[in-house]
């Protein structure tokens, strides 16, 4: 089975949704995917922050219409997207421990869809080293 490692650092809803839909397609196509959420993406995978619908500056002036279209496609509910990814195949979703410390986020604050906390070294030496491709968002 081919393996894909994905690093998600951006935190806007549209950016995380782009990463999630790509991961969804990869898992549904039989790839094993390991996702590492870090930096600005950390709040998006917390129970408190997952519902925030902040968008990139490029969408300024179009926010309401874009949010409406995302919702119409079922893409505005990030926890539901992550559940679909996990149910579709071999996907593991990790939160970066150092980014969590910077944000003041503890493991119980994370969405239940997140498999666990992982350090960058383990992700580099194990998940990235074993991956056929690495993608960053």
């Amino acid at each position: 089975m081919k393996r894909l490692a994905v690093i998600v650092s951006r935190g806007e809803l549209n950016s995380v949704v782009q990463a999630a839909t790509l991961v969804m397609a990869a898992v549904a196509s039989g790839l094993a995917v390991r996702v590492f959420f870090r930096d600005e993406a950390i709040p998006k995978i917390t129970r408190a922050g997952a519902g925030e619908s902040n968008l990139s500056d490029a969408y300024r002036g179009h926010e309401a219409a874009v949010r409406e279209r995302l919702a119409a496609q079922g893409l505005a509910d990030l926890p539901a997207l992550l559940r679909q990814i996990r149910e579709a195949g071999d996907a593991r979703l990790y939160a970066c421990s150092s980014s969590m410390a910077i944000w003041g986020v503890a493991e119980p604050d994370l969405l239940p869809e997140i498999d666990g906390v992982r350090g960058i070294t383990a992700f580099l030496l194990e998940d990235i080293a074993d991956a056929d491709r690495v993608l960053t968002f």
């Binding site: 839909t21 397609a25 496609q73």
Partner: protein
């Protein structure tokens, strides 16, 4: 059997097709309805990588009808 992916975009259509195929026996032909133009390339590519067989597309204005045959496991 028909999978109605009209109005769905890219990965979600693939996911719905994958789920629909799970309970079906190998060899079963499935018809997929799509309005996303990406379907013309996505379904053949997905089939080629998952052991399923892409049969053909038919177009009816904005509607793309794709035929996929489930592979072995």
């Amino acid at each position: 059997m028909t999978v109605d992916n009209r109005g769905m975009l890219c990965a979600q259509g693939i996911l719905r097709l994958m789920r629909a195929l799970v309970p079906l026996p190998a060899g079963q032909l499935v018809r997929v309805l799509s309005t996303d133009p990406a379907a013309e390339h996505d379904y053949p590519a997905w089939c080629a990588n998952t052991g399923n067989t892409f049969v053909r597309h038919e177009r009816d204005d904005q509607l793309i009808v794709s035929f996929v045959r489930k592979g072995q496991a």
